[in-house]
């Protein structure tokens, strides 16, 4: 989903330095503020915590979530439940449990997100948030009827201490989120927002990716709900009004919630702006209008204010910004045609391929009697294609012959087919797409599906299984990219032109060392010279890097130069298969496909 489209240029600034800065500010602020302002500052931290959750689901995974206050209300409820009914659990324990319980609720809300997307998810979360408040209006919070006051333990009674506690919780979640961003899961969030299919094709579970984002979002909201109760002493449902959820969402969009400073600013604005206007005797309604306008501006720019500042600073310190990338992509699309020769410095890279463990005569990929119907139209009937290890096999055919459907069936994106698919002898038909990817079948897509927020190297390492990534040195990756005329591994993908991004995608599929790589029209949009070069590279791939290749292409010259076996599809049926020369001599083939070429 493209709610916030443009990419922020990396997380270069920040890290430990900004953490230190935050701690210093945290220590200094209470000394300078009046009691009332300190109370407000604490509220700002609590809201900032909640906004971080939006940064997780919307900022990272690109999903709309309109139920932050609903989650916070759940956290508040659990906190009070723990404090009152469950033997007066310790204050901190109750906060942590509230966060975890809310995370479970978030997980449950995230489950429908596996099927609902875009605005439907917005509807679902909105309705969920409202339902929570409706139920709580009726049920009330624990202790509400007895006017229970959630007193804090002695060491937290002072407002200053409570401010520190909120600051520490915020800092901890910020650090945790920043650390998660560096993991595979962190990269998967960005991947899923770009394309779910591409995420699964990298061997990452989309379900886990999305639900984890929701769970973390709810976790911080639950924490903030609990902290809110601790701050206020007592709460009513009115504090969690659905419209306030929307306003917080708008402020998050306005400031950009993906990074801690954005969340912090959003929290501060949300709390202090109304007070500021009140002091000036201006209606408290004005800030809400400003938030709405600010969100519109944020949407217009494709990123919030804080993200924008980070991006500008990032550019200043030497990263290529995406704007430049767009321009150069248009100009330099054909830039990598005339490069260096096939000889690449360094030794041949021979990593561990899955094939190493299998006997050489077992085919890398076996597609047997595969049939598929789509809305009563037979898209594939009884298709058999075998890709031996160490070979490049091509599937060609006119438009609509079923080539893309075949790839989708084999890689698990279309499930209701009949027939058998085996990778190195192992049946993979029952596996979901991401498990198939892990079991040795990788693919590229016709469109660019790389993740602009990552460097080339990080993208490649995301694609590679953990062990393979650990065994592969940066130099090996650089050589591999150089072999395919790819960009330097340290470049941000956002700054790489579209043609090179597709190369990176191919390299990623190969670098994962699967048994077989499926390339879906890799030469689309390439000039003739470039596509011949690509043909050489593809032809050399099995011997050099291990994986066999199944090549689906339009470009006859490329196919003839790259493959050793060829299968021709027409109207979903195999009409010829064998060595390219024999196949091309077949009159049926000429009639279905090549005749047209010859006529031209």
């Amino acid at each position: 989903m493209k709610l916030v489209e443009r990419v922020t240029g990396g997380t270069g600034i920040g890290g430990p330095l900004s953490l230190v800065a935050f701690v210093v500010v945290l220590l200094v602020v209470p000394q300078m503020l009046s009691d009332y302002d300190l109370f407000l500052a604490t509220s700002a931290l609590i809201v900032a915590l909640m906004v971080q959750g939006i940064g997780m689901v919307t900022g990272r995974a690109g999903l709309i979530v309109l139920s932050q206050l609903g989650f916070a209300a759940v956290g508040a409820y659990v906190f009070l439940l723990m404090r009152i009914h469950l033997g007066g659990a310790g204050f901190l324990v109750a906060i942590v449990v509230a966060g975890l319980a809310t995370a479970v609720v978030g997980l449950l809300v995230g489950l429908p997100a596996l099927r609902l997307r875009g605005v439907n998810l917005g509807i679902l979360t909105l309705v969920f948030g409202v339902t929570v408040t409706v139920v709580l209006t009726t049920k009330g919070f624990p202790g509400q009827s007895k006017a229970y006051f959630a007193d804090r333990p002695d060491w937290l009674v002072a407002d200053k201490s409570y401010f520190y506690l909120c600051g520490v919780v915020f800092a901890l979640t910020s650090v945790a989120f920043a650390l998660l961003d560096r993991t595979r899961l962190g990269a998967s969030w960005l991947a899923a927002r770009r394309s779910e299919r591409a995420t699964a094709a990298l061997g990452r579970s989309v379900a886990r990716t999305k639900t984890s984002a929701f769970a973390l979002c709810a976790l911080v909201a639950g924490l903030s709900g609990a902290l809110f109760v601790g701050q206020q002493g007592t709460v009513t449902v009115e504090s969690f009004a659905p419209v306030t959820s929307l306003i917080i969402f708008a402020v998050a969009i306005m400031m950009g919630a993906r990074y801690p400073e954005g969340a912090l600013l959003a929290g501060a604005l949300n709390i202090f702006l109304p007070v500021f206007f009140d002091d000036l005797n201006i209606s408290q309604n004005v800030p809400n209008l400003l938030f709405a306008a600010g969100a519109v501006i944020g949407l217009l720019h494709g990123r919030g204010a804080a993200e924008d500042i980070r991006h500008r600073l990032g550019r200043r310190f030497g990263r290529t910004g995406p704007e430049l990338a767009v321009a150069s992509a248009d100009v330099a699309a054909s830039g990598n045609g005339a490069g260096h020769g096939l000889a690449v410095r360094g030794p041949l890279t021979v990593g561990a391929t899955r094939s190493d463990h299998a006997a050489r005569d077992v085919p890398a990929l076996e597609i047997r009697n595969l049939s598929m119907s789509y809305r009563n139209v037979r898209a594939l009937s009884d298709v058999t294609v075998v890709v031996p290890q160490g070979c490049v096999t091509a599937v060609i055919g006119p438009n609509g012959a079923g080539k893309s459907t075949l790839i989708d069936c084999v890689t698990g994106f279309v499930r209701d087919y009949e027939g058998e698919v085996r990778v190195l002898g192992e049946r993979i038909d029952l596996m979901p797409a991401h498990m198939r990817a892990r079991h040795g079948i990788r693919r590229s897509f016709q469109q660019d599906r790389t993740i602009p927020e990552l460097t080339v190297e990080r993208y490649l390492r995301l694609a590679m299984p953990r062990e393979a990534s650990a065994q592969t040195s940066p130099e090996e990756l650089e050589d591999m990219l150089a072999f395919f005329d790819g960009p330097h591994p340290s470049r941000m993908l956002a700054s790489v032109d579209v043609g090179s991004r597709r190369v990176v995608e191919v390299v990623a599929a190969v670098a994962a060392r699967p048994a077989v790589v499926l390339l879906d029209e890799p030469a689309a949009g390439l000039a003739a010279a470039e596509s011949m070069r690509l043909a050489e590279q593809i032809a050399a791939t099995p011997a050099r890097f291990g994986p066999a290749v199944l090549l689906v292409e339009h470009d006859m010259e490329l196919v003839q130069a790259a493959c050793t076996e060829m299968t021709v599809l027409d109207f979903g049926e195999v009409i010829a298969a064998g060595e390219p020369r024999e196949v091309l001599a077949d009159t049926k083939v000429a009639k279905a496909y090549l005749g047209q070429e010859v006529m031209a």
Binding site: L66, V119, I123, S195, L246, I247, N285, A292, A293
Partner: protein
């Protein structure tokens, strides 16, 4: 029991109209208009205020509908000027900001105290056997079904409908063929706003009456109805709206569950969308 269900038809029909408006807008101008109900509420409040100043019903209602249309046109103009090429999600988020702005302005201008809302239609009832059906119910029901039917016919049978559908699929391609997509899109905003105002006017007397409450309370079932119509089918949204209205009335009738009546939309969405979308394993991006 049956009487309770029938009394839910009034609310349900208003919700159906609002839901159908949202589906219409979603299909034609790629936005889930979270502000739909708020725009209608603003129009309804204008009518109510004018009524309080002694205006007769018809001119007051007309002025309210016009006011809503103007607000809709304003929102549509902002959207077309700034977010023509933006994604549906981004446009829908812009609609959320419209909602925030309208609710803020609405409670600022009209105050946040509940105000008495006059029954605009004559309070006459129709007796069918043991069951009483109010005139408002019948009018709202007929309007909901009639408008959805008219919109469906318009889209299918007329050239304007063809142009609208073309604009919905590709406003840029349509513009290259000389279709004034932008103006038509703003028109869609205006018309939907007018219908929303009528719906809120009809439903208001049986609902809470301060601006924010009315906007949010009706938004929930309306958005649910649109969602249950799969954001695609006008008759589906109308049926869903009526169904939700009746269900809520029935749940309210059974006193044990009454407090949870507002949870009906959540359950309905989870059940219906969970079922219809069960095969939507992957997103659109390929």
């Amino acid at each position: 029991m049956i009487q309770a269900g029938v009394s839910g038809i009034l609310a349900g029909a208003a919700v159906a109209m609002l839901g159908a408006c949202m589906v219409f807008m979603y299909r034609m101008v790629r936005v889930l208009n979270f502000a739909q109900v708020a725009i209608g509420t603003a129009g309804a409040f204008v009518s109510i205020i004018l009524g309080e100043h002694g205006w007769p019903f018809v001119p007051a209602a007309a002025a309210g509908v016009l006011a809503a249309t103007a607000i809709g046109v304003l929102c549509g103009t902002i959207m077309s000027a700034l977010f023509t090429e933006a994604s549906t999600e981004a446009r829908s988020t812009v609609a959320i900001t419209f909602l925030i702005a309208l609710v803020t302005l609405g409670s600022w201008i009209f105050g946040s105290d509940p105000r008495p809302i006059p029954q605009l239609l004559p309070h006459s009832n129709l007796q069918v056997g043991d069951i009483e059906v109010s005139a408002a119910t019948i009018v709202t029901l007929v309007l909901a079904i009639g408008l959805a039917g008219a919109a469906t016919l318009l889209l299918k049978r007329t050239r304007l409908g063809t142009l609208l559908r073309a604009m919905a699929e590709g406003s840029r391609a349509a513009e290259l063929l000389g279709v004034p997509s932008r103006r038509m899109a703003i028109g869609v905003w205006g018309v939907s706003a007018a219908v929303a105002a009528i719906a809120v006017l009809l439903a208001a007397p049986s609902r809470q009456s301060d601006f924010t409450a009315l906007s949010v309370q009706l938004l929930l079932p309306a958005v649910a109805a649109a969602s249950l119509g799969l954001l695609r089918s006008l008759p589906g949204a109308v049926a869903a709206g009526l169904g939700l209205g009746v269900c809520e009335a029935l749940v309210t009738y059974s006193s044990d569950l009454a407090p949870y009546a507002d949870a009906v939309p959540l359950l309905a969405i989870l059940l219906v969308l969970g079922w219809t979308q069960r095969k939507a394993v992957w997103d659109e991006a390929r």
